[in-house]
């Protein structure tokens, strides 16, 4: 069982928003109430429905 020494790393939680119709993708900070597949408005490019495609945490010094 792995006990990695990563517990002291500060994490930042991000929400990935994607359009169902085009390749529009946006990343923003996580907000309480976000969940994967939640519909969050319309796409600025083609007005298609925007949904939350993923929520993940990265360490503050992690490269995007």
């Amino acid at each position: 069982m792995a006990i990695s020494a990563d517990s002291k790393q500060a994490l930042k939680v991000k929400t990935v928003v994607k359009c169902m119709q085009c390749d529009y993708t946006q990343e923003r900070d996580f907000q309480v109430g976000d969940f994967v597949l939640k519909l969050v408005g319309n796409c600025p490019k083609d007005n298609g429905p925007l949904y939350i495609a993923g929520i993940y945490a990265e360490t503050l010094n992690q490269k995007k």
Binding site: M1, D6, S7, F35, V36, Y56, A57, Q62
Partner: protein, 381 residues
């Protein structure tokens, strides 16, 4: 012998003043006394026990702090959600236990185990709902998880404390040695549980949600979704001429569902005409392995104590269906806290793996069951 010489030399130096001489005598007497004491049987052992138990006490204190923190968060949550007496409720669930079924007679042990586990889950759920019948499923699942975390931390704290007190009582250096070796690991577990509770309360997907995340990416293309067992949902879609039935726990509540029973029901519904079962789950990595690495194998990828896993194995054996497993590796802490970027990115690669398995190992017209195993907190379908 050299000490005696030093003492003799010191006493012969008439130039030293009286105070310094007295101090050096006291020092040497103290040193020799200590040396002599160490030769008495048991003194060395008692000294070691004293130092080792001090170390364990520090670790125990850390675990207790995590427990107190977790209790206060849960009490606050219960208060906010209108529980009449949060402390009394917490005291009741904190020491809850499930007694293992009799294993000396293993016949039907899985059914007995399932009954006990489900009854316990249902009882806690009923206790929560009777305290406040108007709770939404999301809040209810958060309270359930918080109660589980407090229960687990309480158990860790009490067991470590028990062995510490016992070691002191029995003056047993072997117990204290073992305790000192395992205590840091349990501090890490306690820390991970404590962090996990905060993550669950915010509704953030955890690393163990990898399976449900993969399933949800398939299910978003499905127009037919239905409940297959308790807290478990399935959906059908068409993929390259195959019928794909995807099973996952019902999100975005924090639950693992009952995927074993779900898969069993799906396969019975299909009359056993399923050519492949593919299970996707998070798996604990070994130290040195990279988080987010993917591995493929055979069998049910599921960290279940037994009942759910065996349900899939039994139905697979009944109809002769091969079971594939795709796992994504992560540490224990990464599995129960925020889903890391590497794990999130691995989900898309797992989808490619699954698609390749379907294309390579099944023929058009066949039915495939895909199961996304894990806690679906923050992941809908």
């Amino acid at each position: 012998m050299s000490l005696i010489i030093v003492l003799a030399q010191a006493s012969s130096q008439g130039s030293q003043n009286g105070a310094a001489l007295a101090f050096s005598y006291i020092f040497y007497i103290f040193f020799i006394a200590l040396l002599a004491l160490s030769f008495f049987p048991g003194v060395q052992q008692k000294t070691q026990i004293m130092f080792l138990s001090r170390d364990v006490e520090q670790k125990l204190q850390m675990i207790e702090n995590y427990l107190k923190d977790s209790k206060s968060i849960t009490e606050k949550l219960l208060k906010e959600k209108g529980f009449p007496d949060p402390k009394a409720f917490l005291d009741r669930v904190m020491d809850r236990f499930v007694i293992d079924p009799v294993s000396i007679e293993p016949t039907d042990i899985i059914n007995r185990m399932r009954l006990l586990m489900r009854s316990n889950e249902d009882t806690v759920r009923e206790m929560i709902m009777s305290a406040n019948p108007n709770l939404d499923p999301m809040t209810r699942s958060q309270i359930e998880i918080s109660a589980e975390v407090v229960n687990a931390l309480n158990l860790i704290f009490k067991v470590i404390r028990h062995y510490l007190i016992m070691a002191k009582k029995l003056n047993s250096i072997m117990i204290i040695y073992q305790l000192q070796m395992v205590a840091p690991i349990y501090v890490k577990y306690a820390e991970a549980y404590s962090k996990a509770q905060k993550v669950f309360l915010q509704g953030i997907p955890i690393g163990d949600g990898l399976g449900p995340l993969v399933a949800s990416k398939f299910l978003m293309k499905s127009s037919q979704k239905f409940t297959v067992s308790k807290d478990t949902i399935a959906g059908t879609l068409e993929f390259e001429g195959r019928k794909l039935v995807v099973v996952k726990a019902e999100g975005p509540m924090a639950t693992v569902g009952t995927p074993g029973e779900g898969v069993q029901n799906v396969i019975e519904r299909e009359g056993g005409k399923v050519s492949r079962i593919i299970t996707v789950d998070a798996a604990l990595k070994l130290e040195g392995e990279e988080t987010g690495t993917i591995a493929e194998g055979m069998g049910v990828a599921m960290g279940d104590p037994g009942p759910e896993k065996i349900a899939i194995e039994r139905v697979a054996v009944k109809y002769g269906i091969p079971i594939d497993a795709v796992i994504v590796k992560m540490s224990m802490e990464e599995a129960i806290t925020e889903m890391r970027k590497e794990v999130y990115q691995a989900a898309d690669k797992v989808i490619d793996y699954v698609k390749r398995i379907i294309l390579e190992r099944t023929k058009p017209g066949s039915t495939v069951v895909l199961v996304g195993v894990g806690n679906t907190a923050g992941i809908a379908q």
